[in-house]
């Protein structure tokens, strides 16, 4: 059916807005690579059927530096679970 993904919990720097909203700023991957969140494109409650779980799903455009020193971009999802743990779906 749907291909499975590895559920990876990540370190996140986030900003708390004056209205209580939470938005991720930096996502730190397992290997230490830092992904800057350039823009939050969408926020909604959603399940992750691939990694397993549910929470508030942020669709984000991230930018990071490749080992060659070039900036790279990607659009990805990051979930915040109800206990404020953040996870992403990683390739198996």
């Amino acid at each position: 059916m749907n291909d499975l993904a590895r559920k990876v919990y990540v370190r996140v720097n986030a900003t708390f807005g004056t209205d209580g909203s939470i938005s991720p700023e930096v996502i730190e991957w397992e290997d230490g690579t830092q992904y800057q969140v350039e823009r939050v494109l969408d926020v909604r409650r959603a399940a992750s059927m691939r990694a397993g779980g549910s929470g508030i799903r942020y669709q984000v455009r991230v930018v990071w530096d490749t080992p060659e020193g070039q900036p790279a971009y990607a659009v990805s999802y990051v979930w915040r679970e109800d206990d404020n743990k953040w996870f992403v779906e990683a390739k198996n």
Partner: protein, 413 residues
């Protein structure tokens, strides 16, 4: 005008929540089972794949494994299920305040007042079904009708992840051919009685002269007739109305069978302490104590007794429970599980009539001690202060009913 009522049923709730969090197990036969060591070794829920092998809720784990050798059994995680139950309810509450939970995984919604905003019943049902699948990753089946009974039939009609509408136009085709035992509260005894009169379907039940039903079942006969004809008028409760708690109880299948009054006394102490602590949390005192007992032969009974005055003291609850037990149990068999509950509540700050011969100061002191212990346990855990009596057999008394207690459906009436 007819009401618009939805009944939402989370399909294989425990198993679905587990499968969501363990994607690798999703395609395998999966069941949630109790702890064999604690002798709660039965299937609590199973997914569709396990169902295909004939695995049934309530059967022993070894039986299930025999039917389905590859069965994966995971232990229950009640806090997680409660969280998903609450998340479902939060979605329901966006459509109406009349949300009446029935157990942890079912609820009725009366959306009559919001059809003007969100569209008709079927449309709201579709939206809720889609949202729960997308946002929570589990599935619901929803019945839509003009009364609670048919709405519930509808949610059972097609599973999983489906909406069934039982309207005034189609109920004869959809509801009436169903077996009478599908009706809420038609249990094995009632359906046997009905079957002996060739009343096997809901349609046949609907066609019986209500006078006959009354003769066979008393006033329950009228209720059955109304159920079968879609004339149940029971309202869907406002969510807050249900916060009015009618009884607080705890029960437990003990780690080993109870052999004598001493064993029973110990377990009753643990249960009564938990019940008393939960009552104090709510600011209640109660005046009726009820016990339920099940023996090794799985025969069970319940008995209750009214106390001379309201109490929230675990000592008085234990004493009353023990008296009821002694008066009603003859020890033909060892006891397998036992429960205590208290009802008949009033608030603990109402004035009480003092009795010349009653040592009210002592009761006040005892209550103060128990409140202090509650506070200690909240801060340092349930085991931090214990009754010396309970240390006689820590295997028997080393459970925490207050933390473990789970939600059961309350009666429909």
């Amino acid at each position: 005008m007819d009401r618009t009522i939805l009944h939402c049923d989370c399909n294989s709730f425990y198993a679905s929540v587990e499968a969501l969090h363990r994607p690798a197990l999703r395609e395998k036969p999966l069941a949630v089972g109790g702890d064999v060591e604690q002798r709660h070794g039965i299937i609590l829920a199973k997914n569709d794949r396990a169902k295909r092998y004939g695995v049934k809720t309530g059967e022993a784990l070894w039986q299930a494994r025999q039917k389905c050798p590859g069965l994966v059994i995971v232990p229950p995680d009640y806090p997680l299920y409660l969280r998903y139950s609450r998340l479902c309810r939060e979605i329901f509450m966006e459509y109406t305040s009349q949300v009446e939970p029935f157990g942890i995984d079912e609820a009725w919604l009366d959306v009559s007042g919001s059809t003007g905003i969100f569209g008709g019943g079927p449309q709201i049902a579709e939206e809720i079904r889609r949202r729960i699948r997308f946002e929570l990753g589990i599935t619901v089946s929803i019945g839509v009708s003009w009364n609670k009974i048919f709405a519930k039939l509808g949610s059972d009609y097609k599973k999983p992840d489906a909406v069934t509408v039982i309207s005034r136009d189609n109920y004869r085709e959809i509801a009436w051919p169903l077996p009478a035992s599908d009706l809420l509260y038609v249990g094995p005894a009632t359906s046997r009685k009905l079957a002996s009169r060739q009343i096997t379907t809901i349609g046949r039940l609907a066609a019986v002269d209500p006078a006959n039903l009354r003769r066979w079942f008393g006033k329950w006969g009228d209720v059955l007739w109304a159920f079968a004809n879609g004339e149940d008028r029971a309202a869907v409760a406002e969510f807050d109305e249900l916060a009015v708690i009618k009884s607080i109880g705890n029960s437990c299948t003990t780690p080993r069978d109870l052999e004598d009054d001493g064993d029973v006394g110990l377990v009753l102490w643990v249960l009564a302490e938990s019940v008393a602590a939960r009552m104090r949390e709510q600011g209640f005192v109660g005046q009726t104590v009820c016990i339920s007992v099940r023996d090794r032969g799985l025969q069970s009974f319940t008995r209750q007794r009214k106390l001379p005055r309201p109490t929230c003291l675990s000592s008085e609850i234990t004493a009353a429970a023990m008296e009821i037990f002694r008066a009603n149990y003859r020890w033909d068999e060892p006891v397998r599980s036992i429960g205590v509950s208290v009802t008949d509540f009033s608030h603990d700050d109402i004035p009480v009539q003092l009795d010349m011969y009653d040592d009210y100061q002592k009761r006040e002191d005892l209550a103060e001690i128990e409140r202090t212990v509650d506070g200690l346990r909240r801060r340092f855990g349930n085991g931090c202060v214990r009754r010396a009596a309970l240390l006689q057999d820590t295997d028997l008394t080393g459970f925490d009913p207050k933390a473990d207690h789970i939600i059961h459906p309350v009666g429909y009436f």
